[in-house]
């Protein structure tokens, strides 16, 4: 039996729009994954530390304000600095995305990574 997929659902930035992050967290859990939700107002440093500590397969970041342009590259950079190369980092998709597609996407991405 394959190991359960561990996902860090992270909410970076200063905004408080956590509706999407929480809905996705619930959907991933219902999809059989282990979900760690960071809560709000996370810095890239906090996210990367949590990802390393929790030994997750995936970091899913939900950003509604404009800050993804700075947040996303920073998280990738910090992971690289820590020598972490087996974590999939993904954004949480645009408005109107079906959560079932997110579950499928993460499953496939992890399978590919584990297979590789």
């Amino acid at each position: 039996m394959p190991q359960r997929i561990r996902v860090l659902v992270a909410k970076p930035g200063l905004d408080g729009h956590d509706r999407g992050a929480k809905v996705v967290a619930s959907a991933l859990r219902d999809g059989g994954m282990e979900v760690i939700y960071t809560g709000l107002h996370q810095t890239p440093e906090m996210i990367v530390n949590a990802a390393v500590q929790e030994d997750v397969d995936v970091v899913a970041m939900s950003i509604l304000s404009g800050a993804h342009m700075t947040m996303f590259p920073r998280v990738l950079e910090l992971l690289k600095e820590k020598g972490v190369d087996d974590v999939i980092v993904t954004g949480l998709f645009g408005p109107g995305t079906d959560t079932r597609d997110i579950v499928t996407y993460i499953r496939e991405a992890v399978a590919q990574k584990r297979g590789a």
Partner: protein, 559 residues
Amino acid sequence: MADTDTTKKAGVAGKAKEAWKEKAAASRQRDVEFTSVSGEEVDLLYAPGDVADLDYDRDLGFPGEYPYTRGVRHNMYRGRLWTMRQFSGFGTPEDSNKRNKFLLEHGQTGLSVAFDLPTIMGYDSDHERAEGEVGVCGVAIDSLRDMETLFDGIPLDKVSTSMTINAPAAVLLAMYICVGEGQGVDSKQLRGTIQNDLLKEYIAQKTWIFPPTPSMRIITDIMQYCATDVPQWNTISVSGYHIREAGSTALQELAFTLADGFAYVEAGIAAGMDVDAFAPRLSFFFNSHLDFFEEVAKFRAARRIWATDMREKYGAKDPRSWLLRFHTQTAGCSLTAPQPFNNVVRTALEALAAVMGGTQSLHTNSMDESLALPSEEAVHVALRTQQVIAHESGVPNVIDPLGGSYYVEALTNRMEEGCRDYFDKIEKLGGVIPAIEKGFFQRDIAKAAFKYQRAIEEGRQVIVGVNKYVDEGEEIKIELLKIGPEAAKRQRRVLGTVRNERDDAAVKSALAGLRAAAEGTDNLMPHFVQCSRVYATEGEMIGVLREIFGEYREPPIYW
């Protein structure tokens, strides 16, 4: 005559309706769920029996009279139309100043300012946590200098200004007072609103700074100060909007918002104020979603519950304390990214519900808001939507036109009952703040949001253009407003100039005064005004308070 009698009897007894329903049930029925947007079951038909206990004088009354179910003014929209107030703010204070002037020239009657996230969270534009956020979701304000630019050429004694600001609301109000001073406008002439509703921040919007207790202290300081010095200012806009956007149902929006409102009333009384000294300056801010009748019922129930409890429970004697006045914004969360032009229609329906529900002011969303900040063209259509309702539809001619509808009255009653049940639950948890600390609201909202999302994904809730009538291969061609890094550069430049030119000794002394007041019990407002006057920055003022009050952290909860 005979017909009317039969119908009435049939309805009251309910028997004829049941018999009729059997016939209806035997007829063809579409295979969908007949529920409201909030997932509430609704009956096929409403008849007199569904509102048999309704007492006109007790439950409805006349507009402008207790319990105000039908409206807060005797003459409603024949006296004055609702204020058309489009929320606006982005980039630099110069950009926002230009947009506001554009809106005023096109017939908008009140200003509404959106601030960027660093301003909302009490950071100056050069703080590391501000990176990538300056001017993005609203206008950046660091010091009085920016505020002067924002309101340049706009006489503050002629407009009313709504500022969507919460944790640092006192600072922005203080800066506004100082802009007035500079224009020679006395603070007693200033009209407007600060949102200043921290309870809904902990519940839904989540842009808090301090823990609940010091937040409540700042709020009561503002209420006290404004009662004497800025008497025309609405000190709190108790907001359901964000609760709804976070995914709540209509009932949760209503119940949680009113519970918050009453919590402020209790805090004001506990701070030693006479309820009638501050309650008339509390106003409300609701969402208007797509389920037309549910929304109208929500607005009507809100007025009745507020009036009843303010008079009966809190002993308010001034009728102005009983009035629930509210601003409405159409539901951003109901808009879709695909087929954005459909959003114009959604917004029009939601706006109509707000008007039929007796709103005092209204913001209509722009069709491109699910994607980005609205473009000028989209804002234009949104404003025109309100003007069509106001001047072409005939709706504003008659007050509460849906009053007396069996359906709407039954829904209004159901809203009130549901609300009372929630009040009981909250009381059992020890009140609003303990309920927040226990995650009660957050969990309930997350649950409703997830349920709604599932209903969409399983096709039980149809969203046109999203899960039905999808245009395959649609490319979204809408002009989007994007904020470049220029705004951040401009803010840093101005901030540098302000720090160089201001009187450092005066700033130091003003900030020391603020610190002493925060450590003690003096009202903080005069200190915020003094700090603003000498060009202390927002980040400096909030920084002092962060040291004393600490920062709030919530337990991360999802359902």
